[in-house]
Amino acid sequence: MSDSGSAALSDVRFERVTKRYGKAVAVKALSLAIPRGSFFSLLGPSGCGKTTTLRLIAGFETPDEGDVFIRDTRVTETAPYRRDFAMVFQNFALFPHLTVADNVAFGLRMSGVAREERAKAVEAALAMVKLTGFAERYPKQLSGGQQQRVAIARAIVMKPAVLLLDEPLGALDKNLRESMQVELRSLQRELGLTTVFVTHDQEEALTMSDSIAVMRDGVIEQLGAPREIYERPATEFVATFLGASNLIDATVVESGNGSSQVEATFGRFTLAGSHPAGERLRLAIRPERVLLKPGRDSGALPAIVRDVVYRGMSAHVFLESGGLPLLAFVQNAASAAIDWSPGQEVGIVLPAESLVRLNGGAQAHG
């Protein structure tokens, strides 16, 4: 793929962008291209550089090194008000002295759109976020969810090349947040709007995104579709930051026929893929992928139940096997494991296709 070819399809592009605050490096030689029309999430813990990345797109920060492009235009030193983006802020940042209509019209007014055309666009945008009839209210007269919609309307009315969302759902309560996730996502699809979404909420990122970039210490640890990131985490950080993972250190015993036998402290099991014998691996398996057997039949590894936590629609089963703590999730409907008691001897199966090899290899045991 040629450089220009990939660039033509991307609305935002970073080329080895570095941003420092004093000695601290917020974003480290970051390169990425965000495809047109996609919902792209920057996910990571606070201080990972995700917000800085967003602010670099907006122009509220300028890079120390590298270049930023919006729709193939180099905007590295361009002032924010000359860049083709719109943004929904964390606390909405609705202008308190302006009505809903004036808030939504603000950007069009600044861009010199004529009054009549402005009014039409505002009306359409408010209809899109289901706030028709709220035009003359002031932000303080609206609920949190309604303010959120105004903030979205104010951004989408600009028809920007890229829509930036800075944890816009963080200020809402759980139920409202979930319904806004669905609405925001369908609105984004409908408009085909390239969207960059910053969040520290992994569930939100999984629900909404076409692609997720998991960030840590100013670099992208892994970039991919939600399912890929969740089911094939590349590193221990990704495996544990997105959902829970059991981490297992194992040594390859023998290999052949596209699979390998590996040995961990609690026994031998099979892993997909050929690996040289003697290699030490670090493996991850999701708790919902761990299969539980009531007794110690053949093929199952021995484990002891430490605790069972009832969670309504599921249960968390805490186990120990060969000195290693393991966690398994079971569905309420189909498992007897919910009734297990601590100390019970049971069997576990780690399906070969559910085991993921993490980069970096196994850590040395002491």
Partner: protein
């Protein structure tokens, strides 16, 4: 029932809290104000506070006498000049101070207040030492050969306005700086994300959001200007009298009812200008956002 009696107790507690200041306000402000109003409708008396007969003569004098017109106009224009100077200089200073880190800003604001710790009398004499016939300015100008005869800087509109402005400016700076500092940085970024350049961001966002601070600063400055006396008397002399000087003069000549009437003219003036400031700046539109 329990919640009902609790509510009742709360209401009494609230009343108990408000009652003392309310009483003080009533006894020491409302009652004297009403009695002052009453006094202003009476003829003067040589021996008493006011004579027995009722009259509108004092108000008629204030409204029709050209001398009073001159003084009222002068008072208003002094106020306007001081307001304008304080607004421009104060806002500019506050705009520079507001983005500083809180500790630094507080320190600089405290520094601005230090001159206010010197009595207005002392300050006015200080200005006399600087602006007087034998003062610093004239001495320097004469020594450098720029003038031969000393300039008459004192006892003028300019001297009074300047002297008052230096007293009022810190109030304006503090009000505006606090208002500016409390504006969430996200508003400016939101404006920029919506294609507003720095100038339009200021006009459409920063200025309206700072209007509560500007309004309170302007109210403070104007009301303090109306009630200033020492500075006006010492820097204005007998030629630059303002309305407040006439209150003093009337009391000095035992015309208490006239003094009372002028006081009410001052009060009306304060109310009208305050109303104008509020109407122009509409600070209430920014207040109480949820």
């Amino acid at each position: 029932m329990a919640s009902g009696s609790f509510r009742l107790t709360r209401r009494w507690a609230a009343f108990a809290l408000v009652a003392p200041p309310l009483l003080v306000f009533l006894v020491f402000f409302v009652v004297p104000l009403v009695s002052l109003f009453w006094v202003s409708f009476h003829a003067p008396s040589q021996s008493e506070l006011y004579g027995p007969e009722l009259t509108l003569e004092h108000y008629a004098t204030i409204l029709t006498d050209p001398f009073y017109h001159t003084i009222i106009l002068r008072t208003l224009s002094t106020g306007a000049v001081i307001l304008a100077l304080c607004l421009v200089l104060g806002y500019a200073t506050a705009y520079v101070l507001a983005p500083l880190p809180p500790r630094k800003r507080l320190l600089l604001l405290l520094l601005l207040v230090v001159p206010l710790m010197v009595s207005n009398v002392v300050r006015a004499y200080g200005w006399i030492a600087i602006l007087g016939r034998q003062g610093l300015v004239n001495a320097v100008l004469r020594d450098t050969g720029l003038i031969e005869r000393p300039l008459l800087l004192l006892n003028s509109f300019e001297a009074v306005s300047f002297g008052l402005m230096t007293i009022m400016l810190p109030y304006m700076v503090i009000s505006v700086a606090n208002a500016l500092a409390s504006i969430d940085a996200q508003y400016k970024e939101a404006a920029q994300s919506l294609r507003a350049d720095p100038v339009r961001t200021f006009i459409h966002v920063t200025w309206p959001l700072s209007s509560p601070g500007v309004a309170s600063g302007m109210l403070l400055v104007f009301l303090l200007t109306l009630s200033a006396y020492v500075t006006i008397t010492l820097l204005g002399g007998p030629r630059m009298k303002l309305l407040v000087s006439l209150v003093f003069d009337s009391v000095g000549s035992f015309r208490w009812p006239l003094a009372a009437a002028i006081s009410f003219a001052l009060l009306v003036m304060a109310l009208i200008v305050s109303g104008l400031i509020m109407a122009l700046l509409r600070p209430q539109r920014v207040q109480g956002r949820g």
